[in-house]
């Protein structure tokens, strides 16, 4: 029952996407809306039914595998087209279809005036399908397929406005970096296949200990999988595509590049925790990368002027928290933060979208200010999101971030380092988010005012923002310190109760709450002092620490370094190959061969009759003789 419904959830967005794509001409908007948005609503409702069904079952009876057919059997390895329905995948289904539905609804109005209305919804539906395939797959093969399909959908939607060179370049960058991630994931799957002889989740995870605890193979498997995770989840050093991905329409940024796809790496690690459990070194490396990412991205977010780029770097940073958490073995905390982040980051992006829409595609903070009154809904969504992401008690981000940080503190040793980084990150998060809030919604209007006046959105866009704003508050009440830990309980059947699972102690929670709330309030206060109380202050301080700020503004020069290290040398090598090696080597081989043959032909034709038949006869005879001689020599020798 649960699996049958899950299959329907999986295929409904695919069917609607294909129908939309195959519609002979641009269909009426009403048709596009019903198919494009309705399908996701259906998927969400059915996901909720699946969830309810699992809740009704006993805790140890919530995992089902359903195989459609034997997809391929090759070289002794069998791969089924199969899905796995368990607490983890159902949780992801609810997030994908729930947040996905709200963002689809929002897009109805946001994309209204775009001539490619149908193409947008077809791609968005394809994305939802791909993401569902990613989380529902029951083996590594279809995980990789879903993994790549979300990359394709992301590529298509980043490059949605395909006549803009910047969008086309951003799409390519995202695609290529994701292919690098795919390669890591595929190699990880190969190593699992080579070691355990299977690509099936069930068997691979059950037999993971056979790989050998703390062995080099276990480490290699984890790190290869993490290459895939890092590319998808925009972790250093594979993070550079995500800020550029903001070239896509804002709902795309909200759904794909904030709420769902970029958290796939976190899901992957949690799903494959059986391997990470047997390699503490891999886990620590993952956590270290997450910590570096969260700090680095937060510093870059401080400097961005483009409102969407602030949010993009914030996403990189927030996913860094999740990756750090799962690296330390706090899987449930990471998933908790994944869910909370989906709510508040979607709220933030959609609120930003209202601003962009109202101001006629204006994205620069320099051209914003005083929007609190004309755009009340956006202000609500943005304020709720900011309070949540900053970790103000009562809001979702508070519970999630404190769960992550207190787990890190409990982990001890290396975890303490992560905890310190996380607290610094919390301060920076509050600072850059409230910078955005104060600059966009407070202070005076930009010089010259708005032309035309910003118009409030209709209900299509307002309702999702309000709902997500509310979820940014109540979404965190699943796990309350000293109270209850609903999500831990829900995920326990998947994660097991091994010693590797980190659960925060009460002492750690108390320390974390006090320190992180102080850090967040400090960040907000500083933001108010810099940007809110006196809007001219930041202009007066423009020259302070200009050097470091320029480096941060250039995102720590990663793009330039990659150009210098990989792209340019690669192009030079290819050019040398094309202009020097190819003419001299392979082409020279031909020219030489043909010249020799021509010369030989001339010599022969001088002495022979010149008749074609005679040539053929002598040729065959000569070759046969050569063959016989070689044969005799070889036979004699052996």
């Amino acid at each position: 029952m649960a699996t049958a419904l899950a299959w329907i959830v999986l295929v409904v967005p695919l069917i609607s996407g294909v129908v939309l794509a195959g519609w002979p001409k641009e269909p009426p908007h009403a048709v596009t809306r019903v198919l494009g948005v309705g399908s996701i609503l259906v998927a969400f409702i059915l996901s909720a039914v699946v969830f309810a069904g699992l809740v009704g079952n006993a805790a140890d009876d919530r995992s089902f595998v359903s195989s459609a057919f034997e997809w391929i059997s090759i070289g002794g390895v069998k791969v089924d087209l199969a899905i796995l329905v368990d607490p983890l995948s159902v949780m992801m289904m609810l997030i994908i279809t729930g947040v996905g539905f709200l963002i689809h609804l929002y897009s109805v109005e946001y994309m209204e005036h775009d001539p490619d209305y149908r193409r947008f919804f077809a791609c968005m539906n394809l994305f939802v399908f791909a993401m569902l395939l990613l989380v529902l797959a029951a083996n590594f093969f279809f995980l990789i397929v879903g993994w790549a399909f979300v990359g394709l959908a992301s590529y298509l939607l980043i490059g949605f406005w395909y006549q803009r060179p910047a969008a086309v370049a951003a799409a390519k960058k995202a695609f290529v970096i994701n292919v690098i991630g795919d390669v890591g994931l595929v190699l990880g799957a190969f190593l699992i296949l080579r070691t355990l002889g299977t690509l099936d989740y069930g068997e691979a995870f059950a037999r993971a200990p056979e790989v050998g605890a703390q062995s080099g193979t276990a480490l290699a498997i984890c790190l290869l999988l993490f290459v895939g995770a890092a590319a998808k989840s925009a972790q250093v050093p594979l993070h550079t595509w995500l800020p550029d991905a903001m070239e896509g329409p804002t709902p795309v940024s909200a759904l794909i590049h904030a709420a769902t796809m970029v958290t796939a790496g976190v899901y992957l690690i949690v799903r494959c925790h059986a391997f990470f459990d047997i390699s503490w070194l891999a886990g620590d490396i993952v956590a270290f990368v997450g910590a570096i990412t969260l700090l680095l991205a937060a510093t870059v977010a401080l400097q961005q002027v483009d409102i969407k780029r602030v949010l993009a770097w914030s996403t990189v940073s927030q996913v860094g928290y999740m990756v750090m958490a799962v690296g330390l073995g706090a899987y449930a905390s990471g998933m908790f933060m994944l869910m909370a982040h989906a709510f508040y980051k979607a709220a933030l992006f959609l609120a930003a979208g209202i601003i962009i829409h109202a101001l006629g595609d204006e994205q620069s903070l320099d051209r914003m200010g005083g929007l609190r009154k004309p755009l009340r809904v956006a202000f609500f969504g943005m304020a709720a999101g900011c309070l949540a992401i900053a970790g103000i008690p009562g809001f979702a981000g508070f519970f999630a971030k404190d769960d992550v940080l207190s787990s890190a503190l409990t982990y001890g040793g290396f975890g303490v380092f992560c905890w310190v980084v996380g607290v610094v990150g919390a301060f920076l998060t509050a600072l850059y988010m409230f910078r955005l809030l104060f600059r966009a919604f407070f202070g005076p209007e930009p010089a010259g005012g708005y032309n035309p006046r910003p118009h409030p959105s209709r209900w299509w866009m307002a309702v999702p923002v309000v709902i997500l704003g509310i979820l940014s508050i109540v979404g965190g009440w699943l796990q309350v310190p000293f109270g209850w830990r609903e999500l831990d309980t829900w995920l326990a059947p998947v994660l097991g109760t091994g010693a590797e699972i980190v659960e925060p102690t009460h002492g750690a929670e108390v320390i974390t709450i006090i320190v992180s709330v102080v850090a967040a309030l400090g960040g907000i206060a500083l933001a108010w002092w810099l940007f809110g109380a006196d809007p001219d202050r930041r202009l007066r301080l423009a020259r302070v620490a200009a050097g470091p700020r320029r480096v941060m503004d250039d995102a720590w020069e990663f793009d330039r370094a990659y150009d210098d290290l990989f792209v340019e040398p690669g192009r030079d090598v290819a050019d040398v190959m094309a202009t020097k090696v190819e003419p001299a080597g392979p082409q020279g081989l031909i020219t030489g061969t043909v010249a020799v043959m021509r010369g030989a032909a001339r010599v022969v034709s001088a002495s022979q009759s010149g008749m074609v038949r005679a040539y053929a006869f002598w040729m065959v005879l000569g070759i046969s003789l050569a063959g016989i001689i070689i044969a005799l020599v070889v036979a004699g020798a052996s």
């Binding site: 990789i144 290529v176 292919v179 190699l187 094309a578 061969t593 046969s624 070889v634 052996s638």
Partner: protein
């Protein structure tokens, strides 16, 4: 009914009939060519229907002693390795004939069609030959129609391209003929008779040194045909000078001759020699993957880009065969079919764009998607298959090839992965530069390049085949399993690979041919 012989005779007879049709009777010529290619397609479907997937050896064998004194015979049949290549040939040639009929050359159009049918007969003969001499005859035979097609109807540099094509490939083939004659004579000691039947020659213990030498003789011919780096020099000239329909046929079907020969003839006949050649051949394949990718990235025209990408893609297939692994070999067989379909589709896209815009230069085009949205979708599909996006048909083959390679030599798979990354770079370069960005080099936003109904007749079947294989690759792989296992098993035994990796036990591998063929059971010495 001797269906396999009929299958070869249909295009041959069609070709002869077409040669007799006067050049001005273009309508009649078209009709005959289409009928001939469709008949061949039908015959190949009959062969497929009669195919027994559990049989590893050559089946539906038509045997006729030709020159018994020197052991030459007409011996054709199909097995799991060739069955899909036969289908690929008839399908692609049917589509190619349709494409040729849509835009028949003004000069001697019927002769053009006649030569295409002749080429089909040659390729079908090659893929079904069970006798080494026959294999060689078809190997050389198919050169002639292709060379004439290039020579007469090619681009501005067609004469030189045609000459190079013949001369260069023939050099390789001559060495193969030497090796074939030597093989037959050396094997006489063992089998007691002069025979060139592949099933008689299987299992002959040549000794390592001899087997290596003989295999090397075959390899040069295969390497030039595949083409394996650095023997690919003919490819850019021929692919860019041939009429585009001929380029489609060359890339989709003829390029499989070399890899087919390697798996069907080289590896099973000379298992003792394989061990010495794994590393050298694999290195050439790896260099070809990276080198082909780099040149594709910098290629000035779409045709050259797809052509060089073929060098890289065939490098993957060679790698899959030469590492001697069941999974990799089955992946390689699947990938031969995949590459045929995808390369054909890619060149069809090039054909459509070049026709609409008058140029194949990548950097002179841009923004066609606006005026040609249907083409953009089809092109995107082909691009994703060509870069082997997971979920595409090409990925299935690539995944299991590299999975098998990783099992045997992990470092090779890791290096080959560079080609996977480069494929994304160069294919997206071709797609994005021509389709996206502001319109360039075209009027009316590129509406002239839009895919018409006539183009769709050719392109849509190819796309449907890609979708089919992507959705259910098992349907293709399962019938190939028995033959592929049998082809690599002797080499696996010679290499002393673990028993659980070997699909067919040696005694069965030796016993089955005699029982299954029924005629001319080889008299093996103990």
């Amino acid at each position: 009914m001797p269906w396999v012989t009929i299958l070869i005779l249909i295009p041959l007879v069609t070709s002869l009939v077409l040669a007799l049709v006067p050049a001005r009777e273009r309508r009649m010529g078209r009709g005959i060519a289409l009928a001939g290619s469709l008949l061949a397609l039908a015959a190949s479907i009959v062969v497929l229907a009669l195919f027994d997937r559990d049989l590893a050896v050559l089946q539906q064998v038509d045997h006729l002693d030709w020159i018994p004194t020197v052991g030459v015979s007409w011996d054709v049949g199909v097995d799991g390795i060739s069955i899909w290549l036969v289908l690929l040939t008839t399908v692609i040639f049917t589509l190619g004939t349709v494409a040729a009929c849509q835009r028949l050359p003004q000069q001697r159009g019927t002769a053009f069609l006649s030569l295409i049918m002749l080429a089909e007969a040659g390729l079908l003969g090659l893929f079904t030959a069970g006798d080494l001499i026959l294999f060689y005859v078809f190997w050389e035979f198919m050169l002639i129609p292709f060379a004439l097609l290039i020579w007469n109807w090619g681009g501005s540099d067609r004469r030189s391209a045609g000459l190079i094509f013949v001369a260069y490939t023939m050099v390789g083939s001559l060495l193969m003929l030497v090796a074939i004659v030597a093989t037959g004579i050396i094997a006489m000691d063992h089998t007691g008779q002069l025979s060139f039947l592949m099933r008689d020659l299987t299992g002959v213990p040549y000794g390592e040194a001899t087997a290596t030498l003989l295999l090397a003789g075959f390899l040069l011919a295969f390497a030039i045909k595949i083409p394996l780096w650095p023997f690919h020099g003919w490819l850019p000239r021929v692919y860019s000078q041939a009429p585009i329909v001929v380029t489609i046929l060359l890339a989709a079907v003829m390029s499989k001759a070399g890899v087919y020969g390697l798996l069907r003839v080289g590896v099973p006949l000379f298992p003792e020699g394989v061990g010495n050649l794994i590393i050298p051949v694999a290195i050439l394949a790896l260099v070809g993957i990276i080198y082909g990718s780099l040149l594709a990235w910098r290629a000035p025209t779409m045709r050259l880009l797809v052509g060089y990408s073929s060098v890289a893609h065939l490098g993957f297939i060679v790698l899959g065969i030469i590492v001697i692994d069941r999974m990799a070999a089955q992946g390689a067989v699947l990938q031969m079919v995949n590459h045929g379909i995808v390369a054909a589709a890619a060149f069809v896209v090039v054909m459509i764009i070049a026709r609409g815009t008058g140029t194949e230069d990548i950097d002179r085009l841009g923004g066609l998607a606006k005026g040609a949205p249907r083409l953009a979708v089809a092109f995107l599909f082909v691009t994703m298959a060509a870069l082997a996006l997971p979920g595409s048909n090409a990925f299935v083959g690539e995944f299991f090839i590299l999975g098998g390679v990783f099992d045997q030599y992990a470092w090779m798979a890791v290096i080959a992965m560079l080609g996977v990354i480069y494929a994304a770079v160069y294919m997206l370069r071709m797609y994005q530069t021509t389709m996206n960005g502001p319109p360039r080099g075209v009027q009316d936003q590129g509406r002239a390049a839009e895919m018409t109904g006539r183009d769709a007749i050719i392109l849509v079947p190819l796309i449907l085949m890609m979708v089919w294989i992507a959705l259910w690759p098992g349907s293709l792989v399962t019938p190939t399993r028995a033959s592929t296992d049998l082809a690599v098993a002797p080499a696996q035994i010679a290499l002393e690979r673990p028993v659980d990796q070997i699909g067919v036990l040696p005694d069965r591998a030796a016993a089955v041919p005699a029982a299954a063929v029924g005629s001319r059971a080889p008299e093996r010495q103990p």
